[in-house]
């Protein structure tokens, strides 16, 4: 019996590239390497315009805090350093490198000196950090930080190769073509964590990959390949942990809190490469597919390759796509620019036609069918979350545990009334988060200083910042969730302002929050209207 969880949806897989071997993209003329491709602080450029760089050379590093360094993925000359939006909708600096076509490997790249299977935890963390590896399933959490925070706490190590989203086959091909490297990576990580046993979770729609992996494990009893039921979102780490260990991981907790650590299979593969070859993360497998792409393919592409080049490599587009998505169809981000670069988290590029993305003719309306409740992997009541969010009753959303939502999109997928449930939930989540933060700040401000008359200028600042955020968000034409991200990023400033100011300014911050809520709401309403008028 395959392992699984309660809820979720079975959907058409569209894994059309499952039997297409990974093809290596010839070095593009130009690569564009964003300085922030991961969760954490952005990097600072270490090169300047006109510098010669080698393939694998460190070109951006994090000064302090959480983050991943970035490396040149081709050899050539730094053409410019500019500021643009990433596929995730954030504004970052990026380094444009003109390739010289020589693919000269940087002399800095050296394999680990000792036995890689006996590497000390410190050396492993350092090697992974230097290699700039971040989670390659899409979440892009810096891998070294995950290892460091989990050491000594975990009983289970799980490699996530479920790949539950439709269309994507990057991990599938990797398992078929490089099973030994994945197993080697897992054995290194098992040694680092001091674990005797490792698990690999693969959905049972990839029986060939399961066979390959089992062959690669050989007679060893140390690694078990677990068959997971093919169901979305089986690849969510919470659901994998639940399916394999029976433990439910609460929202906001990390897998390490329940003794588990989970890596994507491609991340694991790159951990091996970082130690065995000293190779930093400068290329990744991207599934380029969708019904608008002439010859869908799995491509090994240098980080920073413009998506337009990948599509060109696949024979171009059959028709104009209605939507270009970076990532999977369930959690990927719609793009407005075909020249965006491949980043460390880009596991797929989808060009979908109207057939997939057509908006319904009728205005959306919830018919109370309860299908969303049946599919929610977090056992929430998405219809009531959406309803209360639409009403603006965010307190009720909080009571209904809106913050437990992982935004997998199962509810909106199954909804016959075509309610944009996830959008409503994202709005509610951002408001609830803001409220909580404001409450916390108010408490801190109260505790730190006795009440004093507030200054208007300090009080106005947070509000102005919030408005700016919203403007940027609407310019970006991204959803409310993105607005929340930028608000989050901006928060340290707001926090400092509030800390230094009096209790009254914290009060004003609350007002600012309320304004944020209102304007976000009006944005949603606008979207609604647009959809209605269609």
């Amino acid at each position: 019996m395959a392992y699984t969880f309660r809820g979720g949806v079975r959907m058409n897989e569209y894994k059309i590239t499952a039997s297409s071997p990974i093809e290596v993209l010839p070095a593009p003329d130009k690569v564009v390497i964003p300085l922030s491709q991961h969760i954490g602080a952005p990097c600072k450029a270490l090169v300047s315009v006109g510098d010669k760089v080698d393939k694998g050379q460190l070109i951006g590093a994090v000064e302090k805090g959480l983050g991943c360094p970035v490396h040149a993925s081709v050899s050539g000359t730094v053409e410019k350093i500019e500021s643009v939006y990433t596929p995730q909708g954030r504004k970052v600096e990026q380094i444009v490198i003109d390739s010289d076509g020589e693919n000269r490997i940087s002399p800095d790249i050296k394999p680990y000196r000792g036995d890689i299977y006996k590497v000390s935890p410190e050396d492993c963390i350092e090697a992974v950090r230097v290699a700039g590896i971040s989670g390659m399933g899409g979440a892009t959490f810096p891998t070294y930080a995950k290892i460091a925070s989990a050491i000594g706490k975990v009983k289970h190590i799980i490699i996530n190769s479920a790949e539950c989203e439709p269309f994507i086959t990057a991990n599938h091909r990797l398992m078929l073509e490089s099973p030994d490297e994945i197993i080697a990576g897992l054995r290194i990580l098992m040694h680092v964590f001091g674990l005797e046993k490792g698990l690999i979770a693969v959905e049972d729609n990839k029986p060939d990959a399961i066979v390959k992996l089992r062959e690669a494990v050989g007679d060893g009893k140390d690694i078990e390949v677990k068959e997971m039921k093919t169901k979305y979102p089986q690849g969510d780490e919470r659901q994998i942990i639940y399916a394999l260990t029976g433990v439910e991981l609460k929202a906001g907790k990390l897998p390490a809190d329940v003794g588990c650590v989970i890596f994507n299979s491609e991340t694991c593969y790159n951990v091996y490469r970082a130690l065995a070859l000293g190779m930093p993360l400068i290329e990744r497998i991207v599934t380029v597919t969708g019904d608008c792409v002439r010859n869908p393919k799995n491509i090994l592409a240098p980080i920073g390759t413009p998506v337009s080049e990948l599509i060109e490599f696949c024979g171009g587009l059959k028709e104009k796509p209605a939507k270009l998505i970076s990532g999977g169809p369930m959690m990927g981000v719609a793009q407005w620019d075909i020249n965006i670069p491949v980043t460390k988290g880009t596991n797929a590029v989808l060009a979908l036609s109207e057939k997939f993305t057509a908006e319904p003719e009728l205005p959306f309306s919830c018919i109370h069918c309860g299908k969303c409740i049946r599919v929610c992997p977090m056992h929430l009541m998405p219809l009531f979350l959406a309803r209360n969010s639409k009403k603006g009753d965010y307190d009720e959303c909080e009571k209904l545990n809106v913050l437990s939502c992982v935004e997998c999109g199962s509810c909106a997928y199954i909804c016959p009334g075509k309610v944009p449930i996830v959008q409503f939930i994202r709005v509610a989540k951002s408001v609830v988060n803001e409220k909580r933060r404001a409450k916390l700040l108010a408490r801190q401000a109260d505790a730190q200083k006795p009440a004093a008359p507030g200054k208007t200028d300090t009080a106005d600042r947070p509000a102005a910042e919030k408005t700016d955020n919203l403007k940027t968000a609407s310019v970006k034409e991204q959803d409310a969730g993105k607005a929340a991200t930028s608000a989050k990023e901006d928060n340290p400033n707001a926090a400092e302002t509030a800390k230094t100011a009096s209790g009254q300014s914290a009060e004003c911050l609350k007002t600012a929050t309320a304004q944020t809520a209102i304007s976000q709401k009006s944005e949603t309403v606008n979207t609604d209207k647009k959809e209605n008028s269609k």
Binding site: V9, M11, P166, R238, Y242, V247, E248, L249, K250, I311, E312, L317, K320, P321, A322, K323, G327, P329, M330, G332, A334, Q335, W336, I338, N339, L350, L352, F356, T357, P360, E361, L362, S365, C366, I367, H368, C369, G370, I373, P377, M378, H379, M381, L383, F384, L400, N401, S404, E407, G409, A412, Y413, I414, P416, G417, K418, Q423, Q478, D479, N532
Partner: protein, 318 residues
């Protein structure tokens, strides 16, 4: 690859793909599920059954269209929900009803019960049930003179049971549909077939019909009002509006709970009230009142049966 291609790409948040189910496709399935009972009504009651059903559908669709036009709302008649309401209202009247009664009944269902409460998904009571009760209260004689195809007035099996008389019809008649009654409710067999179709198409879940019919069945078996317990069970379950109500009306999404446990509570509640009215009340039939009363409680049932959120329950080693 640049320029015009880019400007036409849609930006919207995930998920980017949707299931093919729509409100319209679900309502179409409900209509298909009811088609057997419709054909049978024409066979048993003659062409007037078809006339009444078509009239009722047209009236409901017209009222919805007219209301939405008048209120400058987007017109949503193509979601077929008004058509389903129309068929259900026709299924709930006897064949010899004066057609003008439907003019009022459909108005009450669509305008008063559905649209004034906000339209699809927002009504508190099932429109067809409300219309049935409305017509029943306003025109009791129109609504309860049952003819059979041979145009002889006869009392329904439930009315006979009410008077502690063994009905003129056998349980088999009731099951296959050779009894007097409302248009859509006479053939239990065809209604069950429709229900099975809805289950296979995953339009409904089995909790409500099973809990509803099961509860009623238990009481008939235990109390055995006429003949043997098994005979009572047959009459109690296969006659009157129970099959139609339990399969097609109590399962209406908008006016039934969303959680599995809630649906069982709802079904049992419907069953208990039906039995109470049939055994203790003044009316021979109580299905529609039972459903309407339970409709009013849906909000509270939903709240009381909220599922435990993932990670929030007590764990062995968490």
């Amino acid at each position: 690859m640049n320029g015009e291609n880019q400007s036409l790409m849609a930006l919207s948040p995930s998920p980017h793909v949707k299931h093919k189910n729509t409100t319209q496709s679900i309502m179409r399935d409900v209509l298909i599920a009811m088609s057997g009972a419709f054909v049978w009504s024409v066979v048993v009651f003659g062409y007037m059954a078809a006339v009444l059903t078509v009239l009722s559908v047209l009236l409901c669709v017209f009222y919805e269209f007219a209301y939405q036009k008048l209120m400058r709302k987007p017109v949503t008649v193509s979601d077929l929900s008004a058509a389903v309401t129309g068929v259900l209202i026709a299924f709930n009247v006897p064949v010899n009803i004066a057609p003008w009664v439907l003019v009022f009944g459909c108005f009450f269902a669509i305008v008063v019960v559905k649209q004034l409460f906000g339209g699809i998904g927002k009504n508190v009571v099932n429109p067809a049930i409300a219309a049935r009760i409305f017509m029943f209260v306003c025109w009791p004689s129109e609504m309860s003179s049952f003819f059979k195809a041979d145009a002889i007035t006869s009392s329904t099996p439930l009315a006979s049971i009410k008077n502690s008389v063994i009905p003129d019809y056998t349980v088999g008649d009731a099951f296959f549909g050779f009894i007097p009654g409302c248009l859509g409710e006479v053939s239990a067999l065809l209604l069950i077939c429709g229900g099975v179709y809805l289950l296979i198409r995953r339009v409904i879940t089995p909790q409500i019909p099973l809990a509803f019919i099961g509860t009623v069945a238990v009481f008939y078996l235990a109390l055995s009002p006429v003949g043997t317990p098994v005979q009572s069970l047959g009459y109690g379950v296969f006659t009157g509006g129970l099959m139609l109500g339990a399969i097609f009306m109590a399962t209406d999404y908008t006016t039934s709970p969303v959680t599995p446990v809630g649906r069982i509570i709802f079904g049992v509640g419907c069953g208990l009230i039906t039995v109470a009215i049939r055994f203790l009340g003044a009316y021979p039939e109580g299905v529609s009142f039972a459903i309407m009363i339970m409709n009013l409680l849906v909000h509270y049932i939903d709240k009381a049966t909220m599922p435990k959120v993932f990670g929030m329950r007590k764990q062995k080693n968490g």
